[in-house]
Amino acid sequence: MPQICFYFQLHQPYRLGNFNVFDLENDTDYFSGDNEEIFKKVSRKSYRPMLTLLLDLIKRHPEFKFALSCSGVFIEQSLEFEPHIIELIQKLVKTGRVEILAETYYHSLASLYSEKEFELQVKQHGAVVKELFDYEPTVFRNTELIYSNYVAYQVEKLGYKGILTEAVDRYLHGRDRTKSYLSNTDKPLPLMLKHAPLSDDIAFRFSDKNWPEHPLTVDKYIKWVEIYPEDHSVNLFMDFETFGEHQWEDTGIFLFFEKFIEEFSKKSYNKFVTPGEEVSKLDLTYLDKYDVPDPISWADVDRDLTAWVDNDLQQDCINKIYELEPLVLKINNKELTDQWRRLQTSDNFYYMCTKWSNDGDVHSYFSPFDSPLEAYRRYSIVLADLVIKIDKENQPQQKVDN
C-alpha cells in the first residue's frame, strides 16, 4: 500500500473585458470581464463546499493531510469578492496539516521567458502567502506544472527544496511515476511526479458516462491505488475546482471524496503525505534523474507547452508582453507593473489556442471568449494601450498635440 499525496490548485485569472480600439488612451479598465461573477459562482459551487469538507475531514481524520497552491491573482480576487474563502484557507493552514506550495503570483509563464521576472513573481507570491497564512512554502509548483531542467535550475536558486511536475513518458522512459526523482541540474532537487491516470480519473473522467469504469466507486478506486508497493507515492494533483465546478455536486464528487478519505484512513497502514514532508525525508543519493531538456506541463494530451505557446497569435502576444519587461520595470509604477503582469497570466494565451481534437473542447469550456480569435483580438488591443502608456511614461517630455 503506497502513500497518497494530494495537491489541489486554486487559480482564477483576471479576464479581459470587451476592450476595443475606442478605449485606447481612455483609461478603460482592461480586466472588466466577468471576474466577480465567475469567482462568486465558483466559490458557491466549489471553493466554499470543498474547503468546508476538507476542514471537516481534517478534524475527523487525524492522518489526513494535503497541499494547496493558490495563485496570487486568485488570492487577490478572493480578498475582493469572497474574503471568507481566504478565512477558510487560513483555518486549514492553522491545523498544521495543510501545506501551501510556492508558485508565481500571476500564474505566468515567466520561468520560460525571464529569470528575473520569474524570481520577482515567486517572491511576490511568497510575500502574500507569508502575510495571509504566516507560512513559508518549501516546495515549488510552476504554472500548469510546467517543468524543464532550466526551470529546476531557477527554482533551486530561489532556495526551494523540491518541485512538483508531470510524469511524461518521453522523459521517464517507462520508469515509475510513483517514485521521486532528481532534477538534472548542478544542484539537484527532488521531484514528485503527478500520477496522471489516477488524478484524471477524478478530475476529468469521474462523471463521464462513456468511460467504461463509470461510475467510479470508492472501493474500485482504492483497489487501483493499492496496487502500488509501500515505498511508492501516488501523487494526486488536480485543479481544486474539480470538486463542484468541473464535476458538479450532483455527480456525487463530494461524497466520493469524503468516503474515499474515510475508507482509506480506516486501514492503519495507509498514509497521507504532503510534498514538503516527502522531500525532506528522501535520501537523494538513491534517486534517479528525470532529465527534461524541453518544457513539459500537465496540460492536454501532449503534456507540453502547445496549449499556450503554439500558434502565431500566442507566440506574438507572449513575445510582445515579455519584450516590455525592461521598459515597464524602468518606469517603476506599481499599477502599470501590475497590469503588465496580469497580462502575463497563462490563461490569456490558453484562450488563443487553436489546437483541434478533445483538447480544443477543454479550452473552449474554460474560455470566456467566443473563439481563440476573439481572445487574441482583445488582447492585442489591450497590448496596444499598454504600449502607449509605457511609451508616454518613458518619454515624459514629449508634447502631445491636440
Binding site: 475606442f22 485606447l24 488612451e25 496596444a384
Partner: protein, 409 residues
C-alpha cells in the same frame, strides 16, 4: 400610362442590407421621389419599417417562410457571401447580428432568384408605370420578365459586378445573369466610369447603351474630426470594409508593416468582418504586428462615425471597387483618403490620393507624408470637401430621370 411612374426592383434596403446596394437604393429613391410621379419598389421580403416616399412591394416567396418566422431580410445577401442565409433557417430580427454562417448552394441561389422573379411578375400586374428599373443581377431576371409582360422599357442598374467581387473568376451563373440583364435592357446605368469600362471590356456591352450615374451621399451634420476620441497621442490609419479579397485587406497589412518602419508609433485599425478575418489575424501575428494592427470588428452607427472622425488617414486598397461609398464617408468626416485607382469613387474625389492597390511603396510614402505634413493633409481634406458638394443624391436622381426620358420618349 404615366411615363414618370417607376417600377423598381430591389433586393435589400436598410437596415437589412449587406453593403452599398441597399444604401444606394435608399439614397436614390428618396431624391427620385421628388422628381418622379411614383415609385414602386419590390423587395424579396416583408419590410418591417415604414417608408413614405414610395410603395414597397413584398415579393417574398411563400417557400422562404419557415414556421414561426416571417421574411425580414433577403433570402441571401448578394454582396457578402459570408452571410448567406439559408432559406430554411431564417434569422429572427433580434439575432440578425449573430449572422449564422452557412453557404448556399448555387442551385438554391438560382431557385430563389427565379422565385423572386415569379413574385415580382405577380406584383407588377395592374400597376401603372412607364419604366422598369432593376438593381443588380438578383433583380435582372425579374426585370426582364416584367419587360416581356408589359413591353415597358427596362433599365438595369449595375452597382457591382461579379468581376469586381471575384476578379479571378466568380460564378458563371451570376455573370450570365448580369450579361443577359444588360443585353435585354434598353439602357444600362453604371455607378462609375470605372464600372462602365468593366461592362464594356469584360461583358462586351455596347458603350453607347451605358450611362454613368455616380452615387450620392446624404450630408452629415455631426462630423467631429480630431484626435480627442481615442488613441490621442498616436497617428492612426484606418481600413473599413468587408474583409474579402476584393477589398484588399491583405495589402493593408503589408502597408502597415512598411509604414511602421518609418513611423513606429502609428496604429492601424481594420474595421469589418468577412471571410478573410481569420487569415488576417494570423498574418498580423505572424508579422509581429499584434500591438500595432488592431481589429475593431464590424462597426456601425456612432462607432463607425467616431472611427472615421478619428482616422488620420483612410485607406481603401480595393482591387476592384465599383464605387466605394465608405471613402466618401471618410472624406465627409475630414479624413484624407487614399484610394485605389481601380475604384469608382476616384472619379468624384479627384483631390483624394489615388494609387495602384498593389503599390505598397507609394502608399507608404503617401501615408508618411500625410501623417508628417499637416498642411498637405489639410489641403487634401479641403479639396475633398469641395468635391463632396457635387456628390449628391439629388444630382444622381436628376441623371436617372434623364435616362428615363431617354427610354420613354
Amino acid at each position: 400610362m404615366n411615363k414618370n411612374k417607376v417600377f423598381m426592383i430591389g433586393w435589400e434596403y436598410p437596415p437589412h442590407n449587406s453593403g452599398g446596394l441597399g444604401v444606394a437604393c435608399q439614397g436614390l429613391t428618396t431624391s427620385l421621389a421628388e422628381l418622379s410621379d411614383h415609385i414602386y419598389f419590390s423587395l424579396p421580403y416583408k419590410f418591417s419599417g415604414s417608408i413614405k416616399h414610395m410603395t414597397l412591394l413584398d415579393c417574398s416567396h411563400p417557400d422562404w417562410c419557415t414556421k414561426g418566422f416571417s421574411n425580414i431580410s433577403p433570402p441571401f445577401f448578394a454582396y457578402d457571401h459570408s452571410i448567406q442565409i439559408p432559406a430554411v433557417r431564417r434569422l429572427d430580427p433580434a439575432n440578425l447580428n449573430v449572422r449564422q454562417l452557412s453557404s448556399l448552394a448555387q442551385s438554391d441561389l438560382e431557385r430563389q432568384v427565379n422565385q423572386y422573379q415569379d413574385q415580382v411578375i405577380k406584383n407588377s400586374q395592374k400597376k401603372d408605370f412607364g419604366v422598369i428599373h432593376a438593381h443588380d443581377w438578383m433583380s435582372f431576371p425579374a426585370g426582364m420578365s416584367v419587360k416581356q409582360k408589359t413591353g415597358k422599357p427596362l433599365i438595369t442598374h449595375v452597382h457591382s459586378t461579379e468581376f469586381d467581387r471575384s476578379p479571378v473568376g466568380g460564378s458563371a451563373y451570376i455573370m450570365n445573369s448580369e450579361f443577359e440583364g444588360m443585353q435585354f435592357a434598353d439602357r444600362v446605368i453604371a455607378v462609375s466610369a470605372y464600372t462602365k469600362k468593366i461592362l464594356i471590356d469584360k461583358y462586351k456591352i455596347d458603350e453607347k447603351k451605358i450611362d454613368v450615374v455616380h452615387n450620392g451621399i446624404d450630408p452629415i451634420s455631426d462630423a467631429d474630426p480630431g484626435k480627442h476620441h481615442f488613441a490621442k497621442s498616436r497617428p492612426m490609419v484606418v481600413f473599413m470594409g468587408r474583409l474579402t479579397g476584393q477589398k484588399g485587406p491583405e495589402y493593408f497589412i503589408q502597408l502597415a508593416n512598411s509604414v511602421l518602419k518609418k513611423i513606429p508609433e502609428a496604429i492601424f485599425v481594420v474595421a469589418g468582418n468577412g471571410d478573410l478575418y481569420h487569415e488576417l489575424l494570423f498574418t498580423t501575428a505572424n508579422k509581429g504586428l499584434s500591438s500595432k494592427m488592431l481589429f475593431s470588428g464590424f462597426v456601425r452607427g456612432d462607432q463607425k462615425s467616431k472611427l472615421l472622425d478619428r482616422a488620420d488617414v483612410f485607406v481603401m486598397p480595393s482591387i476592384s471597387e465599383p464605387f466605394g461609398l465608405v471613402a466618401v464617408e471618410a472624406a465627409q468626416r475630414s479624413t484624407p483618403v487614399i484610394i485605389s485607382k481601380t475604384s469608382g469613387v476616384a472619379e468624384v474625389l479627384p483631390s483624394s490620393i489615388q494609387v495602384d492597390f498593389w503599390d505598397i511603396d507609394l502608399m507608404t510614402n503617401k501615408i508618411v507624408e500625410l501623417l508628417n505634413d499637416q498642411n498637405l493633409s489639410e489641403d487634401v481634406i479641403s479639396g475633398q470637401h469641395n468635391e463632396l458638394k457635387n456628390v449628391t443624391w439629388k444630382s444622381a436622381a436628376q441623371k436617372v430621370m434623364d435616362v428615363y426620358k431617354n427610354v420613354t420618349s
